[in-house]
């Protein structure tokens, strides 16, 4: 098992953070958050991966056949469900912001300072 997936996960996390910090548009920012989140998918799946492992469906497979870990896949599915909710909610908030202020630029919002 190579180190590459872990490097990829770290890279996605960092590039997502960078995108959020420098974003000039809330929709872009929410998508950067989704990029950051995909780092957790990669991390979870690579932790459960076994070289030469089959999919974790055990009907008609000989006992002792190596399989990838189904637990992390279940975790990842939960993660997707949870985060789809959050991203949808964030986009809805951004939509309302656009409706009432005519801008999506974090730099132009000055109401909550100090």
């Amino acid at each position: 098992m190579s180190f590459f997936p872990y490097v990829l996960a770290a890279w996605l996390f960092i590039i997502g953070l960078y995108g959020i910090v420098t974003s000039r548009n809330f929709v872009h920012l929410v998508i950067c958050l989704a990029v950051l989140q995909s780092s957790t998918y990669v991390l979870l799946l690579s932790i459960g991966y076994r070289v030469g492992g089959v999919a974790p469906v055990f009907a008609g497979v000989k006992v002792g056949t190596p399989a990838v870990d189904p637990v992390v896949q279940a975790l990842m599915l939960t993660d997707i469900v949870v985060e789809a909710t959050v991203v949808a909610l964030l986009l809805a908030l951004a939509l309302q912001l656009q409706k009432h202020t005519n801008t999506l630029d974090p730099d132009k919002l000055k109401a909550l300072e100090g």
Binding site: V21, S23, S39, T40, I47, T78, V86, L89
Partner: protein
Amino acid sequence: MSTLAPLPVVIPLSVAAILSALNKFLHRRISEALAVAATVATGVICGVLLLQSQAQPVIHWFGGWTPRAGVALGISFVIDPIGAGAAVFASLLVLAALVFSLHYFDTVGTLFHVLMLGFLGAMCGFTLTGDVFNLFVFFELMSASAFALCGYKVEEPESMQGALNFAVTNTVGAFLVLSGIALLYGRTGALNMAQIGRTLGGNLDGLVITAFVFIMAGFFIKAAVFPFHFWLADAHAVAPTPVCVLFSGIMVELGLYAVQRVYWTMFDGSFAAHRWDLRALLLTLGSITAVLGAVMCFGQRHIKRLLAFSTVSHVGLLTIGFGVLKAGALAGVTLYVLGHGLVKAALFLVAGLLLHRFGSVDELELHGRARDLRATGAVFFVAALGLAAMPGFATFRGESGIIDAAGSIGQGWVRAIFFISGVLTAGAVLRVWGRVFRGMGKGEEAETAGAKKINEGRETTQPSHGIPAVMFAPAFVLVLLAIALGMTPGIKHAARTAAMVMQDRASYQARVLEHAWIPVAPAQEEHTPMGKGLAWSFATTAAALLVAFLSLSRYWPSKHALTRPAAITVRGLRSIHSGHIGDYVAFLTFGVAAFGVVLAALVHFH
């Protein structure tokens, strides 16, 4: 095994589902009654669980998937007194917020109640679970409800900005937690906290430190510890007042609850030889948070924002309590959370009353306008004294517990931090009391050192005359409870026993993984001399009163050469709190990196 265990999650979530499905058909009063009934039922069941957990923690395995040979595949609730107590407290605050909001939101249907119940169910699950991934899921459910509640006033742009700042920072925190959990799973192959703790043993290497830092930082974001605290003031400034009650009273504290639960069940063995390194880090973080929050609190004119920064300051004190890593301090933290939550909730409810009556929560704009609200003013004043941890309040019992424990390991200096935080936060609240309820000092023309006015829309429809009883009663009852709790004999002893249960890792593992029956051993009676603590506590209260009245008088040296540096510092701090999400996430990233580097360096070189 207890059949009651799943109910604190099942009841609120199913009633929430029913309410949202029948939204269009139910009369508003019926949905409100259902929501209140569900909250009361949840609170009562959590209370029963709290009583059951006194003998030994209640453990429930979902679907009967009990562990075999020390391996836990199923998901469990492990209900100990601190977890069950937190759930009872959450139910109580939700009840107060729901009763208060009977006069609120006349036009928006029942979705508010649906979200509140979702929030409650998530908080209960969060406090009762014994599975670390389950903890993450409830964390996210709690967050999602909180984001929606925070942005409830969709027509206000400030509201959207505050909710977005809150949601983005806390979601980054959730991913940090999840990454940490994934790393732990990779190392131990377990998600059950007891099993992870046992498998880790005393192992402390790079991977364990990374996982620890990710999980801690993620929960510290929710707990609003410096430098992760920026979202809190924005979210509180814009959220509807009953929601602020929950944010400040329990949600933020649950961030710290998770930190302690995770530490004592999983990481304590690993850090056993490095406790002093961790202590140094946590005491520093807590002290910075406490002082920064207190200074920012004093510099506000928007009452809800002022109270929000006071919460930041008190979370700093609680972080110090956790950082002492002693049973006595954890008992103190427990009592402090209860005392602080009760008085802070009451203060927010009074702010909501002011908004309801006068359409504003701006300290200067409200100058002298609430003179006639004598009873409300009295509640506000007494709650402010509770914030200063005056003897008689639960906050005092908590504070003395933390300080005594800190003193026993030679860290008595934390008393100074408690003093600064108490004087400035209670002083600021008393200043608001003097200005708004007594008409002291100046109004709009007062010197504010750059504090800006933030528009706050009305939350109620009819501008009423007088104060409705259902809005006043919750604040009054909560303050009374804060005093009653402080006066209850034996409460400190009970808290100490509960703290020892939470910190006893070996018994936790045996109870969860081997079904062992290990009765709870009551803590030994401790008699610490009270004199010094009493004197300091009265001094804090007196100093807070003095600061409040001075700041309202014409003797306040706002332009004096000696106080110029202080004013410049406050302006500087203010400019950091820019309301810009990019800045907040930059601070957050820096904070996580610094936390990790410093901890790794301390562990490596000791």
